[in-house]
Amino acid sequence: MIRILIVEDDANIAKLIEATVAIGGYEGVVCNNGAEGFARMENEEFDLVLLDVMLPDMSGFEIMRSRTSDTPVIFITAKQELTDKVRGLRLGAEDYIVKPFEAMELLARIEVILRRVSKTTVIYEYGDISVNVEEHTCKCKGKSVYLTPKEFEVLVFFLQHKDVAVSRDRLLSAVWGFEYEGETRTIDIHIQQLRKKLNLKEHLVTIPKLGYRLESL
């Protein structure tokens, strides 16, 4: 399981981040002050660090400067000035997220970075469905099922966000790209196709007024 270190002094926000990464199927380790966070970063193995900048004892920038490990780091901070952002990225951070953020946004960014350092799963198993992202293949009960590229991406997105209510807009921007201005009808058609091809009628449920959710088995 992928372990993510969360260095955040505000207990509630730490809890929020922990709950968010749990949705993505990662294990969050919370640490509420800079010094301890730094020590754990140095001594333990993590796949990713979510680092707050304004910490009471040791700022995130300081930690970044003095660290020796090369674990990827995402800054999470209330400072949204460009200079701060540039400073953070210059120090070697992979990304910079400004508070307040949405859960899905945080997950998406985490995923991008984990994919970059190739730590994401390439094979997803869901009941008797098995999806291999690298080979771009999908098997159901051992038999391969033909999916269009978009259907495949929609399926992977749901597998990555099990038990999460995914809005149509979110799905559109994730699979078709932000600039896509098609109708949300397109999504409904894809969902129907997936349900039919993989027999997911009961698990890929419609949430009224919001979107869809793939429920875990």
């Binding site: 505000d10 509630n12 709950a19 209330a78 400072k79 508070k99 307040p100 875990s216």
Partner: protein
């Protein structure tokens, strides 16, 4: 036109005018003088020649032993006598009918106009019988009426004056040359002097330009004790004042930026939790009842924090504004009223609250004073444990009203005391937030004390307790006169 150009030009013009006028006057004077001398000598020669001739005439008459000489004889003698004489100018004799009887290098070479003038002169002399001098071109005509051996003659001498004129012309030429040379020399000297004198000005100018371009710590060089260095001195004073003001403004801007930074951080922290947990509640499918309650609880807590923060901010804004209502109140009465409310609060935390206050008048804004006392007491209560005492004590001393808020709570670490009055500063963030603090209370108190012409001092020891002393003169400066 630049100043040095103006000074240079005007001085130059004045100097040249003075030199020119003086030399022309002197020249004119000397010309007149030499003219007069020449005229005198010409007249003398005229007289001398005539008297010479008269004496010759007399001796001739005596020699001839005649009673009188005939006019013809006289005429002949004129011719013979003057022919021999070595005369520089020209001479001419006219008889009583004003006919030319003798002339020597004179009449023939005269221009028609000159002849005309001589005719006029002859008439004038004939009428008046006096001698006349006439300047014609560069010559001097002297005509006199003479009686020679009872015959009337007119005697004309012409003296060449061109020498005087040419000397005058030469001198004029010289003066012109000298003036020109002078002009060049003076202009060079003036240029150097003016430039030298005005050099500090250009330095001041450069310095001022640098200051104007934002180099407020720059100073203008000041040397000597003339007006320019005075100007430089005053410029420097101005620059100093500007620098002070700018620095003060920068400090204010810096403070404000820090405040805004802190504020945005303090606002975003609860906001992040609220939005985040609301988001989770919305999108997460399988949520236990326990989790749902927890998330909702957090949202509620954080919303409460936002409310506290906005409340405190509103208070700060009101304090900062000018709508303060000054009234003269009895401190004891005001404190007593507050004491009732505060006792209830303290008792709800199971603490012992006591208050005593001297009677006395103070110019104050009632609401602000209440806020001040409430904030300090609130801090004291938060720092204390159940059963601890919290005391307020107020008294008058000299021209000020003092009051202390004393607790036996956890105290403040020494190195933190200075910082705790800064906005958003919290010694123990976790604990402050848990008790609903926004980190603005003490900053607000300092501001209120300042408005009442006072200050706030804190003495504290870890584990022993804290004493906050407020000293106020009360009222603004002009309100005292009311």
């Amino acid at each position: 036109m630049k100043l040095w150009q103006k000074i240079f030009l005007y001085t130059m013009m004045l100097v040249m005018l003075a030199v020119g006028v003086t030399s022309i006057l002197v020249l004119k004077n000397s010309f007149q003088l030499s003219m007069e001398q020449k005229r005198q000598s010409a007249y003398l020669e005229h007289e001398f020649q005539l008297s010479d001739f008269k004496s010759y005439l007399l001796s001739e008459r005596l020699r001839q032993n005649a009673l009188v000489l005939e006019q013809g004889q006289v005429t002949a003698m004129i011719a013979s006598s003057f022919q021999e004489e070595n005369i520089t100018g020209g001479i001419a004799f006219f008889n009583n009918r004003r006919q030319l009887v003798y002339e020597k290098n004179c009449y023939q070479r005269m221009s028609e106009e000159s002849r005309q003038r001589v005719e006029e002169l002859l008439e004038l002399v004939a009428d008046t019988g006096e001698s006349y001098l006439l300047h014609q071109e560069e010559e001097l005509y002297i005509l006199s009426k003479e009686s020679l051996e009872t015959n009337t003659f007119y005697y004309l001498t012409i003296t060449d004056m061109s020498e005087v004129y040419s000397i005058h012309r030469d001198m004029l030429q010289n003066v012109r040359t000298v003036c020109l040379v002078c002009a060049v020399a003076i202009s060079v000297i003036l240029l150097v002097v003016v430039k030298l004198l005005l050099r500090p000005l250009s330095r001041i100018n450069q310095g001022t330009r640098a200051i104007a371009q934002g180099d407020y710590h720059k100073r203008v060089p000041q040397k000597g004790r003339d007006e320019l260095s005075e100007l430089a001195f005053n410029m420097n004073r101005m620059a100093y004042a500007v620098e002070q003001n700018i620095r003060a403004l920068e400090d204010v801007a810096e403070d404000r930026k820090k405040f805004i930074d802190n504020l945005s951080h303090e606002m975003k922290t609860p906001l992040t939790s609220i939005l985040g947990f609301a988001d989770l509640l919305q999108i997460q499918g399988k949520l236990s009842e326990e989790q749902r309650m927890e998330y909702a609880g957090i949202i509620k807590d954080e919303a409460g924090r936002m409310r506290t923060l906005s409340g405190k901010l509103m208070e700060m804004i009101t304090v900062g504004e000018a709508n303060i209502e000054w009234t003269k109140e009895d401190v004891r009465q005001v404190f007593h009223e507050m004491g009732l409310a505060l006792t209830v609060v303290a008792e709800s935390h199971s603490m012992r609250f006591s208050m005593e206050c001297e009677k006395g008048q103070l110019w104050m804004d009632r609401e602000l004073i209440r806020s001040l006392v409430y904030n300090l007491t609130d801090n004291a209560i938060k720092a204390s444990k159940e059963g601890d005492p919290v005391a307020i004590h107020g008294w008058f001393e000299e021209d000020s009203f003092f009051f202390t808020v004393t607790d036996r709570g956890i105290g403040i670490p020494k190195e933190e005391i200075e910082k705790i009055t800064q906005a958003f500063y919290m010694v123990d963030k976790v604990r402050s937030r848990a008790s609903g603090g926004a980190g603005l209370g003490l900053a607000l108190c300092v501001e209120i004390a300042r408005i009442h012409r006072g200050n706030l001092s804190i003495e504290s020891e870890l584990g022993v307790g804290t004493v906050v002393t407020v000293r106020m003169k009360g009222g603004g400066v002009h309100e005292e006169a009311v």
